[in-house]
Subunit: 142 residues, 2 copies
Amino acid sequence: MDYCFYCADDEKRKSLMIEIIKLDFSTIYLNKDQSHLGRVVVKYNDHKTEYFQLTEEERNGFFKELAIASQAIYNLYKPNKLNYATFGDLVPHIHVHLVPKYKDKLNWGSAFDDSLEKQFLLEADYNKMIAEIKDEIEKLTK
Amino acid sequence: MDYCFYCADDEKRKSLMIEIIKLDFSTIYLNKDQSHLGRVVVKYNDHKTEYFQLTEEERNGFFKELAIASQAIYNLYKPNKLNYATFGDLVPHIHVHLVPKYKDKLNWGSAFDDSLEKQFLLEADYNKMIAEIKDEIEKLTK
């Protein structure tokens, strides 16, 4: 298998996102770029690259956890719409960018754009978000 | 409910895509813009706007059909990667843009870009694609 930063779980992965919680089928990360408040990544735990490679159990489990993550972000940050995107041409390990969109704010009405200036937070602010997202996901998975 | 072109199933919807097949939970449309060969839309049949609004049965059924559609497109056109995206800030009815990406071709390695010049086909070519995609999906749903 080619190098995969999700599987290596190395500095490259850590430079982009911070682990919030590992669930049965997926791991939820807080995106360091918080230009879209509440943006997270939902990564499938094993190295699969297309949805159709998942067994029924894996697919049902993964999308259940994606729905839980999206519900948690919605409950906490009240976006007007959530965007869900799996690209991965260069990083094919299945992961979903879960991007909250706010009416009349950044990229509203168009695809989110990762070429714009990024918005990084202070460590204390990341930690607050991680704690509240983790808490909300744990409530929803009970 | 606000106007929704998927629910209205009107000229606006028909200007963008052509119905291929209606399944139990979703309808698959061929995107008229075929800049990315094999691009389709997988629409949830009822008007829901976020994944977490689906019941377990609806979610499992929808993502099963999305996996079938992606397998069909993969089998027919052999992309190097499929991209899957639900945006919908302005058209919130759940739908996934299933966009095949080809190495070193349009938008490879970045998000697909709908602002570029579109590539429309002759009716006979749409009809050929619709027939082959429908046939492949029917094989996979048996």
